[in-house]
Chain length 319, copies 2
């Protein structure tokens, strides 16, 4: 059942022992949402905990004070944040499938799996919605909460760059900076700093770029061998996918990452001509208009063939 | 004489036949300021023209409607926008030195060369100030003016990324988007799209990166030979300097570009530890806290020695 911000806030006020689920391979938006809600609930005197199938990167914990040593308790209310489908819960899916009370999300593709859903597909980040929820809860927003929310907004918009960024996004950023968000530091940590190992991986990725269909399709392949050569790892690959969009004339950018078990995952980036979520849906994936993802049980090479053929087909339909 | 926004607007209201000077090697902020002021003055029924020692890149003209075919006239009032010193006028300096009536700028290093100066060193971009001037002129802001101002703000902040970005910057962006600025398109054109030739140049630049002082100093050298090999040119090098800041641990990033006559120019990028404007001042240059530039009459190799030695010295003083 879809609900609005006021109803969502009322519901959270009435509950205690709240478990907050983030999606697997956690990004800034799901972590920012989870941490901000956790800190807000704590200020209301409630017990809460944020969990994830995968580990939170150290950079998030460093920028958001007070999110270590969350309490243990028997959960009475389960909230999923920025989680479009239960599949995205990763290893937490088995335990929590069908049991989620509330979902706060901005994905138009949300499958409405939760009992209550606060959805705004026009929000550039789930953190934009969470900001409203926390203000409606009348929790005083401190620097840590402001940082958490700013992280979600800036990462999901590629630092206020993508088309999804609206005047509301910039306005939310302005308010969060006034409330103490360390925008310069956050943007440096999230976007500017490359580790030496990542810089080496990125160089290999760029060297291996392939182009198809009059260079309207760009493919980057990241293999396990490339991780070995550079000392990098999958946790450092977030910034690779946007590289495909950067070359003049590219309309579909595909980044295929080989997993340790030989299967692979593809990140899709598109411009106006093709809807990335629709494209990824062909392979059982999903996402947004310009950024989506899907998984394959086959090798990188086989996945590439399927992906390029479908991309070609969809571009052909545009002509 | 320093003046405020109201006085600046009153002055512009009283004048006609206004010549607007931008700085040489024009960037988004000087062009955005110039074009926005030109369009605003036109709406007030005045004659105005924007000039520059160098050509405006086509991308600016494409994003800001109505800035082709500016009228010719005998100038009665001369305004410089985003020009910290008369030296930055390039080849226009000889003609206009000592004759500039009004300067609108955000550089703390402004030499107060103009008769009247509207300066706000806390503004992340001169376009933030120009936005206030145009609103005070009570000119209705249309999409073209909004685009011009948004271009200046987004380019001078590295897409809202640098420390210089304040809540006022985000707030200005929000208002400009509401007024019709095409933020997604502008950010794509300014930041995301790399030409094939630029992508090749960037690859060579990254391959040739040198590190000094425990990798706290990063140097990129761009030679004429690299332009020849890649088909790129100096007009495409804007995005190179920020690359030096992106490597973990780098505190001073230096990008030395060889000119056709064998002399060179250095772009400086720093973090907290060193003030870039102070550093560049050692070589007769200037700029902002985290971004500055200076020129050399010697070869790239000689300049590199001088630059690295001074960077080392300034980092040593921090210890």
């Amino acid at each position: 059942m879809k609900i609005n911000v006021e109803k969502c806030a009322r519901m959270l006020k009435q509950k205690d022992n709240i478990l907050i689920l983030t999606h697997a391979h956690p990004d800034g938006d799901t972590v920012g949402c989870g941490f901000a809600l956790y800190l807000a609930l704590k200020k209301l005197g409630k017990r809460a905990r944020v969990i994830c199938a995968d580990e939170f990167q150290e950079k998030y914990l460093r920028l958001v004070d007070g999110c270590l040593d969350m309490p243990e308790f028997e959960e009475e209310f389960i909230v999923a944040v920025d989680v479009a489908t239960e599949n995205l819960l990763g290893d937490l899916k088995d335990k929590y499938e069908g049991k989620i009370d509330l979902c706060i999300d901005h994905h138009g593709t949300n499958t409405e799996y939760a009992k209550y859903l606060l959805l705004n597909a026009d929000a550039a980040a789930a953190c934009e919605i969470m900001f409203k929820v926390i203000r409606t809860l009348r929790v005083p927003i401190d620097g840590a909460i402001a940082n958490a929310l700013f992280i979600g907004i800036t990462t999901d918009t590629g630092c206020f760059r993508y088309d999804s960024t609206t005047s509301n996004t910039y306005r939310a950023a302005a308010k969060l900076v006034d409330l103490g968000a360390q925008n310069g530091l956050i943007n440096r940590v999230m976007f500017e700093t490359k580790t030496k190992t990542y810089a080496a991986l990125e160089r290999l990725a760029i060297e291996g770029m392939e182009f198809f269909d009059d260079e309207r399709i760009c493919v980057i392949t990241i293999t396990q061998d490339m991780y070995r050569k550079t000392g990098s790892s999958e946790t450092e690959t977030e910034a690779i996918a946007p590289l495909t969009r950067q070359i003049e004339g590219v309309e579909i950018g595909l980044t295929i990452r080989e997993k340790a078990d030989g299967t692979c995952k593809c990140s899709v980036r598109t411009f106006q001509s093709v809807n990335a979520a629709d494209y990824a849906a062909n392979f059982g994936g999903g996402g947004h208009k310009q950024a989506a993802a899907c998984k394959f049980d086959c090798s990188v090479e086989e996945a590439k063939k399927l992906l390029v053929a479908k991309a070609s087909e969809m571009l052909g339909e545009q002509k």
